[in-house]
Symmetry: C2
Subunit: 242 residues, 2 copies
């Protein structure tokens, strides 16, 4: 990492970039290079002399984990009487790709991302850059500052907890919509998993089929839940492959 | 949460508990009650007057997230030249249930857990309590202290990164071992998922079958990977159901 920053330092960082970054962050970065790396999509990876590639994926890995912890803490205190199942579900509604892509656009981070792909074919590029930015922030300024940013610039501004609480994402209806629009025949194949004996919780597996191919698989304690998950996975595959 | 702590405060915390907890933590907790809650397994949940249950699951949710972030940071700096795929894999080797159960026993946390189940039937109770303890620590003393604890008392003492790097967990051979020992006929059913067109990465799905029932499902870019994951899931189901 540090060798890498040394390598990059040869290039000069533009004043415009610095200015716009500061506006987004609301503070003065100590190490601009980290934030620069956070904005390099893998399609625009830099190749170092030793052959290794530099892009924002490592920072995204870190930012994703830090974001997850900060949201966990936030929800823990926002909902003192809710159980962990509720907290987990709320968190996954907050950190889903659509939400992160959306916030990246709202804070105008998307225009700073360097990539070589068509924006429409790589939807998640924006949200990934947002997570990578959080990773850079965490290394540059620590946990507390990152928490302050996430709470102030993301959660309080763009996340309506009460609304999210009521939202039940219906992936099944979304996939049916897709199939009609794209004239693809889809069907669910569901069956019960062999659980057994001591515990009596049934486990269902569902496959979302397009013709005779599986496009998504899901698993849950009810057929409905398994189908929802299969539809969710199918939708994410659709984004990738169609 | 705070109402809850008030409720619990009526009971006196034993001196032995305090002493043993301090030995494990290596510091003086500010709020002992948090740590007490961290050690209440759901089987021994307390029921409050409003009907809600108190156990360590909420703290486990929080501790899990914080642990994940701290390990991510640790690996990020330990491996400055590795990509995020490697970091993700290493993290999942470190935070797997066996490892967490093991560390809970090594630091003697297991003896402080309050539960009403037979220890053997609920293997993960120890590791879950370890995560909940980290959640309590995080609330009580903040991110830095929790990081210091995880690095000093867990990673540096019990995690051999070089060894882990070489370890490829072979779930397939483990499940075959199990089937022979328990005289269960198992088989893999694998097929290719309909990916398509633009991207040419194949996706395989594999089911681990016991007679005609599915015990685990896996997915990967090769048949081998899908089978490994199916075997892994089957092993986790075996722990739950057999």
């Amino acid at each position: 990492m540090f060798g890498l920053i040394f390598f990059l330092r040869k290039k000069k960082i533009s004043k415009t970039f610095k200015k716009r970054l500061k506006e987004i962050l609301g503070y003065n970065p100590r190490n601009f290079r980290l934030y620069e790396i956070a904005l390099i999509h893998k399609s625009a990876s830099l190749r170092l002399s030793d052959g290794s590639l530099v892009n924002n994926e490592r920072l995204e890995f870190l930012g994703d984990a830090v974001l997850s912890a900060i949201i966990a803490e936030y929800l823990f205190f926002q909902y003192p009487n809710k159980n962990e199942g509720f907290l987990t579900e709320m968190r996954s509604k907050i950190v889903n790709r659509d939400m992160l892509n959306d916030v990246a656009m709202k804070i105008k981070l998307d225009s700073l991302v360097i990539s070589k792909v068509n924006d429409n074919t790589s939807q998640n590029l924006k949200g990934d850059a947002f997570e990578a930015l959080l990773g850079a922030m965490f290394i540059d300024r620590g946990f507390k500052r990152t928490k302050k940013f996430i709470e102030g610039q993301f959660l309080q501004k763009f996340v309506d907890l009460k609304h999210l609480q009521k939202t039940e994402t219906n992936f099944k209806s979304k996939i049916i919509e897709w199939s009609q629009k794209n004239k693809q025949d889809i069907s669910f194949e569901s069956f019960e998993e062999s659980t057994n004996k001591s515990k009596n919780t049934p486990v269902f597996i569902s496959h979302l089929m397009v013709l005779d191919k599986v496009l998504g698989t899901g698993k849950g304690n009810s057929k409905k839940e398994a189908e929802q998950k299969a539809a969710k996975e199918a939708l994410s595959n659709i984004k990738k492959y169609f």
